[in-house]
């Protein structure tokens, strides 16, 4: 039958205690060196892979357009380009948000991600509702949940008007963490 590693590496009965001790030392030394090699290669490797966990998003406000580009009362999807995206992101650096101009100087920006599972919600102009294609989540015009599975209202971004331009806070995919 099979012989275990411990049995096969056990010292023959003829060996002296010094020889056994020497063998044990080499065994431990070899294991320690293997551990050291693994750490030398492994630590930077794991660090490189998990780096996105710790990547700080620069607080760069995104320009959405001139104030006059938007009609009061209208809710429109506005394409935005993530300024912190990697150079090779291409079209994936783009995103979109739903923007509504409330009055001359005030805007509301909603995330386009359903708070249920992140699918892109659509604005139904006639119904004045946001609706999600995946599981039928529905939100009222203020972003509060109207029906379906979304656990919380649509996420809002901060918006400010600066020198006649509408700007919003950095874009993120809002992750729902509660069960």
């Amino acid at each position: 039958m099979d012989t275990s590693l411990t049995e096969s590496s056990s010292a023959p009965p003829t060996e002296t205690p010094e020889e056994i001790s020497r063998r044990r030392f080499f065994e431990k030394l070899s294991i320690a060196l293997i551990g050291l090699c693994s750490a030398i290669v492994g630590v930077p490797l794991v660090g490189f892979i998990v780096a996105p966990f710790f990547r700080k998003v620069p607080e760069k406000w995104i320009t959405l357009g001139k104030v006059d580009d938007f009609q009061i009362g209208k809710t429109v999807s506005v394409p935005v380009v993530d300024p912190s995206s990697l150079p090779w992101a291409g079209i994936t650096a783009k995103s979109a948000i739903w923007l509504r101009r409330k009055n001359d100087t005030s805007f509301i920006a909603f995330s386009a991600n359903c708070t249920h599972l992140g699918c892109p919600v659509r604005w139904l102009e006639g119904a004045e509702l946001f609706m999600c294609p995946c599981h039928g989540g529905v939100y009222y015009s203020d972003g509060s949940v109207a029906a379906g599975p979304p656990p919380r209202p649509l996420v809002r971004y901060q918006v400010r008007v600066e020198n006649g331009e509408v700007k919003m806070s950095p874009i993120v995919v809002p992750i729902t963490t509660e069960l």
Binding site: P79, L86, A96, I171, T176, E178
Partner: protein, 484 residues
């Protein structure tokens, strides 16, 4: 010439040890291990097809978020055999999922997971998990709009994992949003990490098959006794065992050949899955759906009550995984024959029925609103002016038709309203419209009173047609006929 070949072969075999390397193929196996035992080999062959077609596709595929879509278009439309290879990779994945499912069902029903093959089963369950992970990551490498949004859905699901959810979600996205880091990490996982782990586990799985032998078909009334099983098995092999190659392997080879022909035919005739729109997250008209082998899980999450969804999303796969991994630990002895294990039959049958039914529901997706719903035709509305006509127009404009069906037109998210006037009174209709209900928004603040009136007028016109016999009965009961 023949002699020369023989000399070369003998020399090579001596130096490389090819015969020794292949000798496990001739291990002695129970002679009754026949057609039911081919699914493991079929899974392995499907995996080999995946590796081969995947390597070929990698010659042209660029795993860059900005270029992958274009390379997929090139592979599909311009590269020689590109369309066929993409189809081969897609149907190979489907075949692998089907075959691993069949292999698992057979080993479960035959009780092959019992002593001493507990770890053979457990490594197989790990391989099932890796196969599904390969399927999902592979769908994402089809870097179109569906794939990009599926990454977001995966990140949102991962976000529900207690404590580390947000980190895992960021890891999946490669940051705070989809971007340059997203695709390349899925490429690395799909092409290097998972296949590497799978090679190791397949090696371990095969080693365990050799170590413990191919299980003999179960016999009712002959339970597994760990104290005596190994001796009995050895005795069986001595008495009636046959070398796996070629006495038993020919069936595996036959089925694998048929499988490859089926995969190739499907790839040639049906072709690869059609690419959706480019992976531009600013295009919000997207409707992400998983491939068929995960569609049932998508359907499950859509059908369960909202309040327990988060728990099911995380808990269900964990519980199923733990159950499958540990089933041989508490059930390692006793009867193997399915005829003496009614619970095993019930569980396997229920699993197939549940997955099949959920898959079917997933195909229909009745919970999704129909954004393509067009205004109802005059024929359906039954009016060209007046409140019924206005109500029908509002029914479309206010999004009601996205969720409700009228004579086969519209969505299936909410109840079918084709004959709603037979079920609800005018007052009840107003209450529902104004206050909303389960899964229906309240329209009280967005509809004017005259719009509510028009909508109700339209809904009140949705009645079952009166049949001739009913008409005659009504005529008999009408006041004029009574007077006569």
């Amino acid at each position: 010439m023949k002699r020369l070949f023989k000399t070369v072969w003998v020399w090579l075999d001596d130096r490389i040890g090819i015969s020794v390397l292949l000798s496990p193929m001739k291990h002695i196996a129970p002679q009754d291990a026949k057609w039911w035992y081919v699914f493991g080999s079929a899974t392995l062959v499907a995996f080999i097809v995946q590796v081969a077609s995947g390597v070929a596709l990698a010659f042209s595929y660029i795993s860059s978020s900005s270029q992958a879509y274009e390379t997929l278009l090139f592979i599909t439309n311009n590269a020689p055999f590109g369309r066929f290879l993409r189809g081969l990779h897609y149907f190979g994945a489907s075949a692998m999922v089907l075959m691993i499912g069949a292999h698992m069902a057979q080993t479960f029903l035959f009780g092959c997971y019992k002593f001493p093959r507990e770890m053979t089963w457990t490594t197989g369950i790990c391989l099932l998990g890796f196969t599904l992970a390969m399927g999902f990551t592979g769908q994402l490498l089809r870097w179109d709009s569906t794939a990009a949004w599926s990454v977001v859905v995966a990140a949102e699901q991962a976000g529900r994992i207690p404590i580390i959810g947000e980190w895992v979600a960021r890891f999946i996205l490669g940051g705070d949003t989809i971007g340059g880091a997203t695709l390349s990490r899925f490429f690395a996982i799909h092409v290097f990490v998972l296949p590497g782990i799978m090679f190791a586990f397949i090696g371990l799985h095969l080693w365990l098959v050799l170590r413990h032998g191919i299980s003999e078909p179960p016999v009712a009334g002959k339970p597994v006794n760990p104290a005596t099983y190994r001796a009995e098995y050895e005795e069986l092999l001595k008495k009636s065992g046959k070398p796996f190659w070629p006495e038993l392997a020919w069936r595996d080879v036959t089925v694998c050949t048929l499988l490859i022909i089926a995969i190739a035919l499907a790839a040639f005739i049906v072709g690869p899955p059609v690419l959706d729109k480019p992976p531009d997250p600013s295009i919000l008209a997207a409707d992400p759906r998983p491939d068929w082998y995960l569609l049932w899980y998508f359907a499950l999450l859509s059908l369960i009550p909202d309040r327990i969804e988060g728990y099911v999303m995380i808990g269900f796969p964990v519980l199923i995984g733990l159950f499958l991994l540990f089933v041989p630990i508490w059930n390692h002895k006793g009867e193997r024959a399915a005829s003496r294990r009614p619970w095993a039959i019930a569980m396997a049958s229920l699993s197939v029925i549940m997955i099949g039914a959920l898959w079917w529901e997933g195909q229909q997706s009745p919970w999704s609103p129909n954004f393509a719903a067009q205004p109802l035709s005059e024929k359906v509305v039954g009016a060209t002016s007046g409140p019924v006509f206005t109500g029908a127009q509002l029914f479309h404009a206010k999004g009601c038709l996205n969720c409700h069906l009228i004579q086969g037109f519209g969505g299936r998210r909410g109840p079918n309203l084709t004959y709603i006037a037979d079920e609800l009174t005018r007052d009840n209709m107003i209450i529902r419209i104004v206050n909303g209900g389960t899964n229906m928004p309240a329209y009280g603040s967005s509809l004017k009173p005259q719009e509510v009136d028009a909508l109700v007028a339209f809904l009140q016109s949705r009645k079952r047609p009166i049949r001739p016999q009913d008409q005659s009965t009504q005529a008999e009961l009408s006041p004029t006929s009574v007077r006569k």
